[in-house]
């Protein structure tokens, strides 16, 4: 599903964020990406979503080589990924329903079919009753759940979550991890970056541990 072969990424200015990374992720796996901040977790996720391009090696996602993918093909790659951001990246000028609707509008779904899917996604994260609210009225945990609803409404095969529980208290964090676990159970591939010790203690799954841009074994 996802494969890294001797991947390196340097940012302009010479800072090496990733050095010689190789690993494979099979379909249906739930993987925790661990390491301190600055270890390269976000960069690794960005490479998968083609937000950044590798300087060396090959990144393959769903059979596509990210280093060689054309700009015009990037949107279609991203529609098969669910992206969950630490800072949520919600749009505060529209209500919950319209926030979750956005990916379906982008993909050009039929309106009535979309409305059903949006409600199902909101229901899954426990926000269905608040579909008319605007995101500013939500707590941090609720905003993160809204971000998850937006990521899954397209039914992507791969979910990428960058520090999804970064700023949350333990209860909210657990609620979010339970949602991820339910996706794992229905066969989604998950890549979750975190440095939250509690979560790592509680949840099983393969670990990829990064330290200063290098993969620890």
């Amino acid at each position: 599903m996802i494969s890294f072969k001797q991947v390196s990424k340097r940012y302009p200015g010479g800072y090496a964020a990733l050095k010689n990374i190789s690993f494979e992720v099979a379909a249906g796996e739930m993987i925790f990406l661990t390491g301190h901040s600055g270890a390269g977790k976000s960069t690794l996720l960005k490479l998968i979503a083609a937000i950044e391009r590798p300087n060396g090696g090959t990144v393959t996602v769903n059979g596509q080589n990210i280093g060689k993918i054309k700009a015009g093909a990037v949107p279609y790659l991203r529609r098969n990924l669910g992206l969950i951001f630490q800072d949520h990246k919600l749009l505060f000028d529209r209500n919950l329903f319209d926030n979750v609707m956005l990916p379906l509008q982008i993909a050009g779904f039929d309106h009535r079919e979309s409305a059903k899917r949006v409600r199902a996604a909101l229901d899954k994260v426990g926000l269905l009753k608040r579909e008319k609210a605007i995101p500013i009225a939500l707590s941090g945990g609720e905003q993160q759940r809204l971000c998850i609803a937006r990521a899954i409404v397209n039914r992507p095969s791969i979910l990428l979550a960058d520090e999804p529980t970064g700023n949350l208290d333990a209860d909210s964090a657990n609620a979010i991890m339970d949602i991820f676990k339910s996706f794992h159970q229905v066969g989604a591939t998950l890549l979750i970056s975190t440095h939250d010790e509690n979560i790592l203690r509680e949840f099983k799954g393969r670990r990829l541990s990064l330290k200063q841009g290098e993969l620890q074994s």
Partner: protein, 302 residues
């Protein structure tokens, strides 16, 4: 296909809604575009009307010869023959002073005035229709006739029409330059409006790109906005021109009645109106396209 149409319909509704969320600035933008477009369009339609007048007047070029008041009947018949045999002249028409007076009374309704005259002040005249209408030949013919005895005054009638034509040509060039300059202004206005919109919606654009929006999806609402704004500006220009011409015609009718004429200004033709609207919509679209392309590129670079 259906969802594609639905999407375009949705974007269209969204554009109208966005125009309405800031009605004053939308209105002012549309008004500026309308005024900018109405200037060259107004110049064009006035020139078009002048051209109509010139065409009506020009016909075939004529040379009018007014004879000395004391020329005799013998001299007149001799001149007629000489003129008819001239190589550059196709036809000669003699207008006697009596005929001229009658015509004056009939066509201008000045019977009261002329009736009060003690004697006919008008001279005999020849109206000469030259063969070609090359201005150089006409002028040399005029100069030649001027030298004839008893030819008091020789007038090349088409001369002022030709001057008018030259003036119209100059006017058309001026209008074209004005149109080009103001087209740039229109593109610039749209460019700036869209730039402000992109800045306020930058977050939405970035998020949309992260979750798989293609560039054309992001461009579309802005392009629609530019197109609709341009079209509304064009419509405003059309209204400005049409209303102005109607007002001018009301006042003009009072004026031309005094001259016993029924001249009135022609409105924009259907073709001209359609051209104006299509052109304004296109310029709006172009301004939006340039703006959104430049800013998308900036956002991608960031």
């Amino acid at each position: 296909m259906k969802s594609w149409l639905m999407h375009h319909l949705y974007v269209m509704q969204y554009t109208v809604r966005r125009l309405r969320t800031s009605p004053l600035s939308s209105l002012l933008n549309i008004l500026v575009i309308g005024v900018a477009l109405s200037l060259p369009t107004g110049g064009y339609i006035l020139l078009q009307n002048l051209q109509g007048v010139a065409d009506k007047l020009v016909g075939a070029p004529q040379i009018s010869v007014f004879l000395n008041m004391n020329s005799s009947q013998d001299e007149i018949s001799r001149f007629t023959k000489q003129l008819e045999q001239h190589a550059d002249i196709s036809r000669v028409e003699f207008v006697s002073r009596e005929q001229a007076l009658q015509q004056l009374q009939q066509t201008t309704g000045l019977a009261d005035v002329t009736g009060g005259l003690a004697q006919n002040p008008l001279p005999h005249a020849f109206i000469i229709y030259p063969k070609g209408n090359d201005i150089a030949v006409l002028e040399s013919l005029r100069d030649e006739l001027k030298a004839w005895p008893k030819f008091e005054h020789v007038q090349l009638d088409s001369a002022w029409v030709r001057k008018l034509e030259a003036l119209l040509k100059f006017g058309r060039l001026a209008v074209l330059i004005l149109a080009i300059l103001l087209s740039f202004a229109l593109v610039a206005i749209t460019f700036n409006t869209i730039r402000l919109q992109i800045l306020t919606r930058r977050e939405e654009i970035e998020v949309s790109k992260l979750i798989g929006a293609s560039n054309s999806f992001i461009r579309r609402p802005f392009l629609y906005f530019g197109l609709v704004q341009g079209l509304l500006g064009g419509t405003t220009a059309w209204l400005i021109i049409t209303i102005s011409l109607s007002l001018l015609n009301i006042n003009l009718s009072d004026l031309v009645q005094l001259y016993a004429s029924n001249f009135s200004l022609q409105h924009l033709s259907f073709g001209d109106s359609a051209t104006l609207l299509v052109f304004s919509a296109y310029l709006g679209w172009l301004g939006a396209f340039l703006s959104v392309s430049q800013h998308l590129w900036q956002i991608e670079g960031a």
